[in-house]
Structure formats: structure tokens, C-alpha cells
């Protein structure tokens, strides 16, 4: 059992990792063919991850309903919503599940009027939250906080037409802020994060990092 849960995954991680790195430097058609195969397998695994996610979600909500845990009514709503969407996706406006997705029908209606509406509403909450966060935190308590405050005001004005209406300098200042200090900070963080990614990838390839296998130390 240890072979399947520990040794085999480590062997697969090592061989695929080394192979993927080698393919990057080898232009030969054999290497490119192998890359094509690897990426096709990756896509198949990614597609199967959806089934895993589906099972987990349904299992989670079923357990909540069965055990009458707190908020189990919402699990009923989630299950019914899933069932409805799945049902109408299969019906596919009368064309059946093997035809291309119909552009009309109940499934499309629910997507446009429920999914899009709810998701964009949740996203729009950010506008309110950022307003209250900005009011609370953009205080000139120190020189650094004052610079942050001024930069935020310049960028907020520069990103909308009213900034250019007030003065042409505002959009120019906004662009300078984004193109110089912001770019420098982002690039620095990007370089550091990339090195971190290299370090973690190396540890995974050489089996030093095993947390992705689930618990346990080396």
C-alpha cells in the first residue's frame, strides 16, 4: 500500500518533472511529440477532476441533509439547483445531450438570469466593500500612508474620464504611477515568486516536498 500511496506517486512526479524540463530544451520532433502526448494526458486528468469535484460537492451536501446539520436547508437548495441545471442541460431544449448546446432553452435562461445575475451581484459587492475599506484605512497617519493615499486618489481619478476632464496631468500621473513604481514592485515580487516556484517545483520533483500527497513527513 505504501508503494501506491508514496513510492509510485514520487516516481511519477520525478519522471514527469524531469521529462517536462528536458522537453523545453530539446527541439527534436521526438521531444515535441512527447510533449503533445503529455499535454493530452494532462487535459484528460483535468477533465476527470471535474467528476471528482462533482462527487465531493454532492457527497458534502447529502451528508448535511442526512444528518440535519446546521444550514442543511441551503444544502437542499444547492442540490435542487444542481439537479435542475443538469436536467435541462440533458434536455438541451429538446435536442438531447449529444447535440451541441442549444442557444435557447431553460438551461440558457437559468445561466443568463440566475448564474450571471448572482455571480455578477456578488462581484459587485466589492464596490461597496472597497469604499468602506478605503474610508477606514486611507488615513494620513504617516508619510508612507500619505503617499499611499495620494497615489490612490490619483489613480482613482486617472482611471475615469473625469480625471482628464479636471486636468490632463492626472491621467499622465496615473500612467506614471502604474508604469514605474507599480511595475517595479510587481516585477520584484514576480521574480521572487518565480524563484519560490522553482524551489518548490524542485522539491516536488526530487521528492523532498511531499505535502501534496497528504500529511506525513519525509
Amino acid at each position: 500500500m505504501l508503494f501506491l500511496t508514496r513510492t509510485l506517486p514520487l516516481v511519477i512526479a520525478f519522471s514527469c518533472g524531469v521529462l517536462a524540463i528536458a522537453i523545453y530544451y530539446v527541439p527534436h520532433s521526438a521531444a515535441q511529440g512527447m510533449e503533445e502526448k503529455l499535454t493530452l494526458w494532462l487535459r484528460i486528468v483535468a477533465a476527470f477532476a471535474y467528476f471528482l469535484g462533482l462527487y465531493s460537492l454532492l457527497n458534502l451536501h447529502w451528508n448535511r441533509i442526512r444528518q440535519h446539520q446546521a444550514g442543511w436547508g441551503y444544502s437542499v437548495v444547492a442540490a435542487v439547483g444542481f439537479g435542475l441545471m443538469f436536467f435541462f442541460a440533458v434536455i438541451n431544449d429538446g435536442d438531447g445531450p449529444f447535440a451541441p448546446q442549444a442557444k435557447q432553452g431553460a438551461y440558457q435562461w437559468m445561466f443568463d438570469n440566475v448564474q450571471v445575475a448572482c455571480a455578477s451581484t456578488m462581484f459587485s459587492l466589492l464596490a461597496f466593500f472597497i469604499s468602506s475599506a478605503a474610508y477606514r484605512t486611507f488615513r494620513a497617519r504617516s508619510p508612507e500612508a500619505t503617499i499611499l493615499l495620494v497615489a490612490a486618489v490619483v489613480v482613482m481619478l486617472g482611471r475615469v474620464p473625469i480625471g482628464a476632464y479636471i486636468s490632463d496631468l492626472i491621467p499622465e500621473a496615473m500612467l506614471w504611477l502604474l508604469s514605474v513604481p507599480n511595475l517595479a514592485a510587481k516585477r520584484g515580487i514576480l521574480l521572487g515568486v518565480s524563484l519560490g516556484a522553482i524551489g518548490t517545483a524542485l522539491r516536488i520533483i526530487f521528492g523532498i516536498e511531499r505535502s501534496y500527497l497528504g500529511g506525513g513527513e519525509e
Binding site: Y24, Y25, V26, P27, H28, S29, A30, Q32, A49, L52, G53, Y55, S56, L57, L60, A78, C118, A119, M122, F123, L125, L126, F129, I130, S132, A133, A134, R136, T137, F138, K186, I189, L190, L191, G192, V193, L195, G196, A197, I198, G199, T200, A201, L202, R203, I204, F206, I208, E209, S211, Y212, L213, G214, G215, G216, E218
Partner: protein, 434 residues
């Protein structure tokens, strides 16, 4: 004297020719009467032609280079001919303008020599066919023969594919083939190998001696947050972020979760771990269970404390925000990669009065965490966090190796900028990816 009459006749004939009146101009309506322009039967041959297998490719291509012809002008063009036998027939495969396709346009293949701006190149991948047939790709291992000529650029004198316009002179042989190493990426390979060896080396060193890591304020606050939660008798909420187990920030978050779980097991504090991805949830369950086992508190582990809220971004955010408001955890630890839901979570959490510690390498979300959380780990500090908390040699060594990598990059940026300022682009070229 005997030839005098003959000479007289010849002279008279010559006079007749010269006295011929000018031919009448051909009317515009009769263009078919216009004579064909006089064409040279062969293009002028270009010297210094080289032909070779295109480097750094999968095969099926040859590259031809030649220096600029001293008599080339805007009204001339280079013509490249190809044959599969030394004797021909040579077929036109490419035309390059007098200012087109210079080696300096492709430094990845040809480097940065000063001569490159005076040398043309052409890649040939298709062997042309006569007539209406489509050409065929070049075959690896088969010899092809190349000639390059210089012709007027006028469309009416473009050489046809039947051998007309082919320059004289010997053809250059080239054999296409696949390559086993992309030499244009040699700088990338050396730098990457160097960083990898440094990281692995430091991991090995860290196993033998203690490596220093600077204090990270946000991580020291975790103990304070857990202690506060224990005193208040409230749970601790741990949030991973949205990415899956394959992503680096989630791995770092899981490492931190392991340490946090050990401490909550020791303190007897309730821990809630909310996931949005089933694989991350499965790993988190194992990690927390292991942590409780190692602390000798297997009875305190509650499997329901590590659960999946929702797979969708905003459903997950709504679920976590609801939990924050209803259950009022005393500490929120948000580690991982976040998207737009970061502000929803952090702002809601700040209204509940909980102590909030966040860590992310999502550059876009850092401002939101900085303004709403008590402590924020930025970028790499998230990766350093797991090393800091655990003091494990593999993690500490990896961190040190990354620091050396950063030093190399800093050196490259500073010195390279200085050198480039003084027109010495050596380092710039060294770090350019092709």
C-alpha cells in the same frame, strides 16, 4: 581593289539601316504589339553563400545566409534557388528584398556579431513543385543544393521556376535534420541549472547546520492569534485560497496549516478549515489528522472541521463570510492564492473584530489584505512562512537557495543596467530569452 565593290555594298547597307525611320509608336490600345523586355538569361550570382541545417529546430528546414551584395539596391532583390541534385533543376524558393531578413533580426539564432547587419538569411522548409502541385516539406537527412542570385526587383523579370534566372556557379549543399538541444536557450539552461544546484546544495547544507532566517512579523503573530482564540474559547478559521493542490501557494498554505493544526491541537483550540477544492480538502484532512496524531491528541480531531464550502469562487466567499459573521472565530488565517473574494473575506472579517493574518503571492490582492488585515505576508514571505514555522532543513535550505538566486538577479539588473547605459549590452544579451 577586288573587295572595293563588296565594301561599298556593305557600307550602303549600313547606311540604309541607319537611315531607317523610327518605328511608329505602338498605340495604347494595342499592348500586345509591345516587344518583351530584354532579360538576362541568368541572375548575377552572389558570393559567400552558406547553407546549413537550421539550428535549434525539429528538422525539415535549412538556412541560407549570404552577405549583402555591393551592387544591391532598392530596385534589386535576392533570389534563392533549391534543388535536390547538384545539377538541378533549381527551383525558386524565396525572394528577399535588398533590406530584408538580416541576421541581426534574429539574434537568437545568429547572435550579436557586428557583421550580422550586413548578412541576409532565409529559412527554407518547403521544396517547391512545378506547376499547380503544392510543395513538399524538406526531408531530414536528404541533401539539398542552394544557389543565391541577385535580380532586378521588377515583377516582370522575376525568374520563373523553369530554370530561367538561375545564377551560375556551384551550389552549396545542406542537409536538414532535427536537433537535440536548443542552443538559443543555453543561457536559460545554465542559469536554471545553477539555481537548481544552489537550492539543492543549500538543502543539503541545512541538514547539517542551522540556517538563519529573519523574523517575519506576521508569522510571530500566529501564536498570538491562536492564544487569543484559546482564551476567548472561540475557533480559529483557516482559509486556503482558491487554487488547487498543484499550485505553489496552496502547497505553502498546507504547510502552514500543518503547523497551525499542531498548535491548536496542543492548545485545545477549535480549528475550522474551509476548502473550495476537493483535492485540497482531502490533503488538508490528512494534514490536520496527522498533526493531531503527532501531538498525541487524536481524540480532539474532528473530521467535520475540515470541509468543503463550495467550488465556485463567490459561493465560497459567501459561505466563508457567513461563517465569520455567525460563528465569530477569534482568528482568521488566510493563506494561499486569492482572487476577487479576498476583499469580501477580509473586509467582512475585519467587522467581526477577529485578528486577521493573511499571506498571498497574488500581487493584485495584496493591497486589499494590507488595508484590512492586521498582518500580511507578501509574495515570497508566504513561501518562507512554512520554513519559518517548521524550521525544517529542506524548507530552510530551499529558501536560502532562492535568496542566492535573487542575489544573482539583483547583480544582473544593477550591473547590466550600468553596462547597457555605457553601450555594453553583454549582460542584457546574456539574460535575454530566445
Amino acid at each position: 581593289m577586288r573587295y572595293l565593290p563588296l565594301c561599298t555594298v556593305i557600307l550602303a547597307l549600313c547606311a540604309q539601316v541607319h537611315s531607317q525611320p523610327e518605328p511608329a509608336p505602338i498605340p495604347e490600345s494595342r499592348p500586345e504589339l509591345r516587344p518583351e523586355p530584354k532579360l538576362e538569361s541568368r541572375a548575377e550570382s552572389v558570393a559567400g553563400v552558406e547553407a546549413f541545417d537550421t539550428p535549434n529546430d525539429a528538422g525539415g528546414s535549412i538556412t541560407v545566409t549570404w552577405p549583402k551584395h555591393p551592387e544591391a539596391s532598392a530596385s534589386t532583390m535576392y533570389t534563392v534557388f533549391l534543388a535536390d541534385a547538384p545539377s538541378g533543376p533549381f527551383l525558386l524558393v524565396a525572394t528577399v528584398g535588398a533590406d530584408g531578413s538580416l541576421k541581426s533580426d534574429n539574434p537568437g539564432m545568429f547572435g550579436h556579431d557586428a557583421d550580422n547587419s550586413h548578412t541576409h538569411f532565409a529559412h527554407i522548409e518547403i521544396f517547391p513543385a512545378v506547376g499547380e502541385d503544392e510543395g513538399t516539406p524538406l526531408i531530414d537527412g536528404k541533401a539539398y543544393y542552394v544557389k543565391v542570385g541577385l535580380s532586378p526587383a521588377d515583377d516582370s523579370v522575376i525568374p520563373s521556376s523553369d530554370g530561367f534566372g538561375v545564377p551560375s556557379g556551384n551550389a552549396i549543399e545542406a542537409v536538414p535534420g532535427g536537433n537535440f538541444f536548443n542552443w538559443a536557450k543555453l543561457n536559460n539552461f545554465i542559469l536554471g541549472t545553477f539555481i537548481c544546484l544552489v537550492i539543492l546544495g543549500y538543502i543539503s547544507v541545512a541538514r547539517r547546520k542551522e540556517l538563519y532566517i529573519r523574523r517575519i512579523a506576521g508569522l510571530e503573530a500566529i501564536d498570538e492569534a491562536l492564544g487569543r482564540a484559546t482564551e476567548m474559547g472561540k475557533p480559529v478559521l483557516f482559509v486556503h485560497g482558491l487554487k488547487g493542490m498543484e499550485s505553489i501557494p496552496t502547497i505553502a498554505a498546507v504547510n502552514i496549516l500543518s503547523r497551525v493544526a499542531r498548535r491548536t491541537a496542543r492548545l485545545g483550540t477549535d480549528l475550522r478549515v474551509v476548502n473550495n477544492e476537493p483535492i485540497v480538502m482531502a490533503v488538508s484532512q490528512e494534514v490536520v489528522k496527522e498533526a493531531y496524531l503527532e501531538e498525541g491528541r487524536p481524540d480532539a480531531y474532528n473530521p467535520d472541521s475540515v470541509f468543503m464550502a463550495a467550488p465556485d469562487q463567490f459561493s465560497y466567499a459567501a459561505a466563508v463570510a457567513g461563517m465569520m459573521v455567525r460563528d465569530r472565530p477569534a482568528a482568521h488565517i488566510m493563506m494561499g492564492y486569492f482572487y476577487a473574494e479576498s476583499l469580501l473575506l477580509a473586509e467582512t472579517g475585519s467587522t467581526t473584530g477577529a485578528i486577521q493574518i493573511a499571506g498571498t503571492d497574488a500581487y493584485t490582492q495584496l493591497p486589499f489584505f494590507v488595508t484590512t488585515c492586521d498582518y500580511t505576508l507578501m509574495g515570497e514571505e508566504l513561501y518562507a512562512a512554512s520554513a519559518y514555522l517548521s524550521r525544517e532543513p529542506r524548507l530552510l535550505g530551499s529558501l536560502k537557495g532562492q535568496d542566492v538566486g535573487k542575489l544573482v538577479l539583483i547583480f544582473g539588473i544593477l550591473v547590466g543596467t550600468l553596462m547597457a547605459t555605457f553601450q555594453m549590452p553583454f549582460l542584457t544579451h546574456l539574460f535575454t530569452s530566445y
